[in-house]
């Protein structure tokens, strides 16, 4: 759909990154390069700075040390429309004055100041995005009455508005049922395969994305490990990371991490504070 970025430049390059909070080091010395078409999952307990890492890539927060280059440019300013951002599913109020397609349209005109008149081509683009995420059936219904899965499809449509070469997903599967989780993963995975975009996906449960993941960045206990799922998701590696005995069990195609301090429960409430 869109031209690839300058050849040779990785969509995301992080060097020497560190994050400290209240004199506590969450992680340091993080070097990471995400290649075009690669899907990298970021795992770890709450408070390990996963969301902060995403926000730093968007220029919304700063790291304690290190350098981030997104789409071949050092991060500057707040927010970046060239990057697609898919937030956590939060139910919208039932009386929200928007229909499905309007939620998608925010990706196209939500940043524009000035008299709210649509530009030529906006409508056609919205329809394209609605179809791309399979939202045609509920595009005209009030968003507040849609299910979590339907709302999340629309948010993905919003995030794809500018054909991003880099997608950042912050817990996109939280509070969705299994079928909807699979749909959302299929949409993200399909987009990356079609366009060769790089994807960074923060999640607390690896299972729904296990089939699509290329590499995993696992952050815990002030350290991190980077590698393929087979390299990272072993009892040995995770025990070393947590500094406590941790078992990785495989059962029926699913993977369960047992014994990790604060890892087995869903712990995705920590970045709710910004919503007013």
């Amino acid at each position: 759909m869109s031209a690839p970025t300058a050849t040779g430049a990785a969509p995301l390059r992080i060097t020497g990154a560190a994050l400290r909070r209240d004199d506590r080091e969450l992680w340091a010395g993080l070097d990471l390069e995400v290649q075009p078409g690669e899907l990298l999952a970021v795992l770890g307990p709450s408070g390990s700075g996963k969301t902060t890492l995403l926000r730093a890539i968007l220029g919304l927060e700063s790291l304690s040390a290190g350098r981030i280059e997104a789409l071949g440019r050092p991060v500057h300013g707040r927010g970046n429309r060239a990057i697609g951002y898919i937030p956590q599913q939060r139910p919208l109020p039932p009386e929200t004055a928007l229909r499905g397609r309007d939620l998608v349209a925010l990706g196209i005109d939500g940043h524009r100041f000035g008299f709210p008149i649509p530009r030529r081509g906006d409508r056609a683009r919205v329809e394209e995005l609605v179809d791309a995420v399979g939202a045609r059936a509920f595009a005209d219904r009030p968003v507040g009455l849609l299910s979590g899965g339907e709302q999340q499809r629309l948010r993905i449509g919003q995030a794809l508005a500018d054909d991003p070469r880099l997608l950042l997903c912050d817990e996109p599967l939280t509070s969705l049922d299994l079928a909807n989780q699979q749909d959302v993963v299929a949409l993200i995975d399909g987009y990356r395969k079609r366009t060769d975009a790089a994807v960074l996906l923060v999640t607390h449960d690896i299972n729904p994305v296990l089939g699509a993941v290329d590499r995993i960045l696992y952050i815990a206990g002030g350290r991190f490990t980077l590698g393929t799922p087979d390299q990272v998701l072993t009892s040995e590696v995770l025990s070393g990371l947590y500094g406590a005995p941790v078992s990785v069990l495989r059962a029926g195609g699913r993977l369960v991490v047992v014994g990790a301090p604060d890892a087995e429960v869903s712990h995705h409430h920590h970045h709710d504070e910004a919503s007013a």
Binding site: L106, H111, F113
Partner: protein, 289 residues
């Protein structure tokens, strides 16, 4: 009071209605502008869950106006200073809904108390005192009416200018920030515009009743519509109908304007609720099938 008196209070002026209308023409315009802008900004007040903030701002606006009355400066200026200070405090300190509500809860009685103190120290015409709390647009001087209309127009333009980023920020502040919307600046601009229109509303329907034009019309519109254009449009129509209708009915008699405005906007809300719940049942029945 017998029936004849009540009839007089309601319709005593019907015989001279043409002459009265000519006299209150500017008041009607001010009401129309407030109804229009109040309806539009109300949609965002609802979406951002700020109805309580509107009330808090209006009490400080009242205090500002009362202070102005006491020291003998322009009352409209006083109410604007009060409102904008309140809006800045609420916007600056209360990013989170819970913090915001506690700040408002603390500010509101303080503002109201200050206003009552200033009013009791003031020994001018007593009619002015209550008009700040309960409103009396027809007693506002025409020079001040011009100001109220100008401020309303400014708020309208400002609101249209930040319309789309504000809508994005009201719905999903995180995605808006990720896509480069300056969310802090947009929020503060919204608070400033809200403060200004609250100050206008204080003079037209009174500090205690501003919600009738800044919250009720939008709440009613959201019951019966859900489109990004239809809701603000309906809210504006409801706001104008309440404000202008209220003034036009009130000047037929000797009763104050505010009860007419609040009653019309309340009735509109009730009708919308009934219509909306009927439609909601139909939609649910259809989707359940």
């Amino acid at each position: 009071m017998n029936w004849a008196d009540i009839g007089d209070a309601l319709f005593g002026g019907v015989a001279d209605y043409g002459a009265i209308l000519a006299l209150v023409q500017n008041s009607v315009w001010a009401g129309a502008v407030l109804g229009l802008v109040g309806g539009l900004i109300g949609v965002f007040v609802m979406q951002r869950d700020m109805a309580f903030a509107v009330h808090g701002i209006s009490e400080l606006s009242f205090a500002g106006a009362a202070a102005a009355l006491l020291i003998g400066v322009d009352v409209v200026t006083g109410s604007i200073v009060g409102s904008v200070v309140a809006a800045a405090i609420i916007g600056g300190l209360g990013a989170r809904a819970r913090d915001r509500n506690s700040i408002i809860g603390v500010l509101m009685p303080f503002g109201l108390g200050l206003g009552i103190l200033f009013l009791s120290l003031y020994d001018g015409r007593s009619a002015n005192r209550f008009s700040l709390l309960t409103g009396q647009i027809v007693s506002v001087q025409s020079g001040q009416l011009g100001w109220l209309i100008a401020i309303g127009a400014f708020v309208l333009l400002g609101l249209l200018f930040i319309w789309r980023p504000l809508r994005f920020d009201s719905l999903d502040p995180q995605s808006a920030a990720a896509r480069g919307v300056p969310t802090t600046a947009v929020s503060l601009a919204f608070m400033l515009l809200l403060g200004l229109i609250v100050a206008v509303a204080v003079h037209i329907i009174g500090a205690l009743l501003v919600m009738a034009l800044l919250v009720t019309p939008a709440a009613a519109a959201m019951k019966v519509a859900s489109g990004p254009v239809s809701v603000p449009l309906l809210a504006a129509v409801f706001g104008v109908a309440s404000a202008v209708g209220g003034i036009l009915l009130a000047v037929m008699g000797t009763l104050p304007v505010s009860p007419y405005i609040t009653t019309i906007s309340f009735v509109i809300y009730l009708v919308c609720r009934v219509v909306g719940s009927r439609r909601g049942r139909v939609v649910r029945a259809v989707t359940a099938r």
